[in-house]
Subunit: 127 residues, 2 copies
């Protein structure tokens, strides 16, 4: 079965002490109010101007600030398996998504989307 994926979100991970200033800064810098996600209140986000991509700010419990990427897919198991074959390693499943490590050691996430939301016009088809 074919599945789809796309690089979909830029996530700025911020220590709690810097969170509110960082959220205000990037909301104003991007010109988009970043609103809190009800289901995951540690995240604020907004679409980016003229794209289907989005910017997220995540409040961290601990650890240093960083930026990471989210790949969205309509088949989580198939996409994680595809990325593992390319050289990524599974780190941890969190909620409905997977954290992976790329060949240079950088973390990124693979996030499931409903079947039907990704297609040839907005994502890459595999298989």
């Amino acid at each position: 079965m074919a599945h789809y994926s796309r690089l979909s979100k830029i996530v700025i991970d911020v220590p709690a002490a810097d969170h509110d200033r960082e959220l205000a800064f990037w909301s104003a810098a991007a010109g988009q109010p970043l609103t809190r996600f009800d289901a995951h209140p540690e995240y604020h986000g907004a679409p980016l101007h003229g794209t289907e991509s989005g910017l997220l700010i995540q409040r961290l419990g601990d650890g240093p600030g960083r930026v990471h990427l989210d790949i969205h897919t309509d088949d989580l198991a198939a996409e994680v398996a595809r990325l593992e074959k390319l050289g990524a390693e599974r780190v941890q499943q969190v909620h409905s998504w997977w954290i992976l490590r790329d060949p240079a050691g950088l973390l990124f996430c693979v996030i499931p989307e409903p079947v039907g939301s990704l297609n040839d016009s907005n994502a890459q088809r595999w298989g």
Copy 2:
């Protein structure tokens, strides 16, 4: 005078030792061959599927791997001044662009684009 800007590029900065594996991985992960920039051969890049945004891989001379964001603008001085007022700090000018530090200490870049390339349909208008 009004000017425009947008969050335009995701840049994966990679130590030289990991560069080739990282470049191969993200080209395959995104399904887009990342091609070398003639003017700045330390960068490879490609547009992201269905967007005006792009993914870049930068080969680092030193320092740890990380991900950073690029804001593109048609008025570099006005955009850097706007971002400084919001709480960013100038770090260094490199080639034609500026490296800034956001309120949480993360680095990002502001890149000049030709006047006329950004407009109400693909960017945010300021002023």
